[in-house]
């Protein structure tokens, strides 16, 4: 490959990686909030599917992408409310409830889709890419960075806001304390359960947004199982990113990069490696990274544990 071709290749790769990373960025930052407050939600896959479905259904009915996005977030939060009631109020085991919500999310969206959407024709109008004047005309990387749709751009905003909220506000400080020393928060007169509810709803709302991006910002149809395991990958991203929103952004980008690279390398007929090896690469890499970063050290100390009030 000569330099020109390499640059074009790299630019396409980066553009694709960002789009592929977008659902992961939303879902994993959401999960950072949840886990920082001590709530491990493995039901992200189901939540994202609910977001994808609600977003699609609303946009299909109204023709409006913003309404679809709102519906996706609302659907995710409604689903998250079930999770919160069971894990925080009833204090049921978080993994058990998460596993149940995955089944419920997959089953419910597929059931409703099969029942009501026998044919969806050309689907919906998705959010269109917006070219930022001048910048998008830059050679090679111009389009990759400056010609995406608003949902993709918003990942940067969401990341910055999430980091500010988590590290620069008293809400964020308390939320993190809830995951580390809930008793101290309780003693200080703050309601641990309320903070956990807040964290879970932020988390599932963002997961719903990540799901909705798939149907409203990328492909124009809902397909059963459209998340294709992204909810599980987001869980890995959080550990890999050591529970930091900014880390989650970059780790998601790395996963997006691998995913895009995998697709692009397959198309290069000169590569003789079986494509399945490339497909497995992100998963293998996650395991390797877990070993290298020794995830546990940064985990919130009360992760996964219900809080018993005094």
């Amino acid at each position: 490959m000569d330099d020109m071709m390499f640059l074009t290749f790299a630019a396409t790769l980066v553009g694709a990686a960002w789009r592929l990373a977008t659902p992961l960025i939303f879902a994993s930052i959401g999960e950072v909030f949840s886990e920082r407050a001590g709530v491990l939600n493995i039901g992200l896959e189901g939540t994202m599917l609910v977001g994808a479905f609600c977003g699609f259904a609303a946009a299909f009915a109204t023709g409006s992408v913003p309404l679809g996005l709102i519906a996706g977030v609302a659907g995710g939060m409604a689903f998250g409310l079930i999770f919160a009631v069971f894990t925080i109020t009833i204090k049921a085991d978080q993994i058990v409830v998460g596993a149940a919500l995955n089944l419920l999310g997959m089953g419910l969206t597929a059931f409703l889709f099969r029942t009501y959407y026998v044919s969806t024709g050309k689907g919906i109008e998705i959010a269109q890419p917006i070219a930022i004047p001048f910048l998008s005309d830059l050679p090679f990387f111009g389009e990759a960075f400056f010609k995406q749709n608003l949902i993709v751009y918003s990942t940067v905003l969401v990341t910055v806001l999430a980091a500010l909220l988590l590290y620069r506000t008293s809400f964020g400080l308390t939320l993190r304390a809830v995951g580390e020393h809930p008793k101290a928060v309780d003693v200080a007169g703050r309601n641990v359960a309320a903070y956990r509810y807040g964290a879970v709803l932020i988390g599932t709302g963002l997961a719903g947004l990540g799901g909705a991006f798939l149907t409203l910002g990328h492909s124009n149809q809902f397909v059963e199982g459209i998340t294709s395991g992204r909810g599980f990958i987001a869980l890995a991203v959080v550990v890999f990113a050591r529970w930091s929103p900014i880390g989650a952004f970059f780790v998601s980008m790395l996963f997006g990069l691998f995913y895009a690279l995998q697709l692009m390398l397959q198309a290069q007929s000169s590569i003789v490696v079986p494509y399945q090896l490339l497909q497995a690469l992100p998963y293998i890499m996650t395991i390797v990274t877990l070993v290298v970063v020794r995830g546990k050290s940064a985990a919130p100390s009360k992760l996964g544990q219900p809080y018993e009030m005094r």
């Binding site: 074009t8 630019a11 396409t12 694709a16 592929l20 597929a110 492909s219 697709l263 198309a267």
Partner: protein, 327 residues
């Protein structure tokens, strides 16, 4: 040797005249069951079978039923048996993976006919029905090589119906230009529309100006990518009509009316004249398989190329060009 469709159809016609209406009315109510390995709600592989089942209902007045089996081999045999024991005379298993289960059950139900899509089997009452998609894809390959610089093919999983189609495309393109560049990528499932779209986009950015996706439910992502890349990128609509998704890019349509083919086979079975060999539908079966050019789009195929394609199509139908042999 493959069954000649023409003699087969003539036979059917003669028979139905001979049997006439009263004889048909005496026959017991026709019941047909369908097993699909996924959801019929998505445009794609499973929908084709559902449409075929609907066709049998509408044209032959059959009572129909279908079951979506989530790619679960352990359930196949049971489902075949359920239908057979309830007196369904014809059961369609939509995919080669149903073949083993059908062969097993067929021994116990000699009067039931088991049709298997995408299969070349023929053992007693188990009959393979194959739509040779390499033929229309061969034509697409010819057009791509004549009009374009580079082609990209996006597949779902690496299974025969998709591999055969891509082989046809490559053979067609290389019959025009042996060095015509074609890149190929599999997304590894049939659900990830996002991956299908990105795979197509990356091919386009690498210079592909003809992109054909073939990934069942996820196919639509490929067309989305084509549509977003402007009218310089061309595509063909496959199986269903996707022109609404990419109105400025689709040059032609390959429409498979599997229903017509299945209806004919079921009719023959009903008349006691079941196919004696596995059935392969191709361009020769104009009711089942058609490849048409679009005239209403902003881009279209020039007349001279159309004439050439027509000639090639006739040769394929006549069996003079083999489209599915590995290069």
């Amino acid at each position: 040797m493959r069954l000649s469709r023409r003699t087969f159809l003539e036979g059917v016609a003669a028979l139905s005249i001979a049997m006439s209406v009263p004889a048909m009315a005496k026959a017991e109510e026709l019941k047909m069951g369908l097993l699909v390995p996924g959801s019929v709600s998505e445009e794609g592989w499973n929908r084709i079978a559902y449409n075929a089942l609907k066709g049998v209902e509408e044209q032959l007045g059959a009572k129909i039923s279908y079951v979506e089996l989530q790619q679960n081999p352990a359930s196949f045999e049971k489902a075949f048996r359920d239908y057979a024991s309830q007196g369904y005379q014809v059961i369609l298993g939509h995919g080669f993976e149903f073949q083993d289960a059908a062969l097993e059950v067929a021994q116990d139900y000699p009067d039931t006919h088991f049709l298997i899509s995408s299969s070349h089997v023929h053992e007693g009452n188990v009959i393979g029905l194959d739509t040779d998609t390499s033929q229309p894809f061969y034509l697409m390959g010819v057009i791509a090589a004549k009009m374009g610089r580079k082609a990209g093919l996006v597949g779902g999983m690496e299974i025969p119906p998709i591999q055969v189609a891509f082989t046809g495309f490559k053979n067609g393109a290389r019959s025009v230009n042996p060095d015509f560049p074609i890149s190929e990528a599999y997304i590894g499932n049939f659900t990830d529309t996002t991956a299908a779209k990105e795979a197509a986009l990356s091919m386009i950015s690498a210079g592909a100006d003809f992109v054909v996706p073939n990934a069942s439910g996820a196919t639509v992502g490929g067309y989305q990518a084509v549509a977003e890349s402007g009218p310089d990128v061309r595509s063909f609509s496959i199986f269903s009509d996707y022109t609404e998704v990419a109105p400025n890019n689709i040059l032609g349509l390959y429409v498979a009316d599997y229903a017509q083919g299945v209806v004919e086979v079921v009719k023959a079975i009903q008349a006691g004249n079941a196919p004696t060999e596995n059935v392969v539908f191709g361009l020769k079966d104009t009711k089942v398989m058609s490849f048409t050019f679009r005239d209403d789009g902003p881009v279209s195929v020039p007349e001279d190329i159309r004439a050439e394609v027509k000639a090639i199509s006739d040769k394929i139908a006549a069996g003079e060009i083999k489209t599915d042999t590995a290069p």
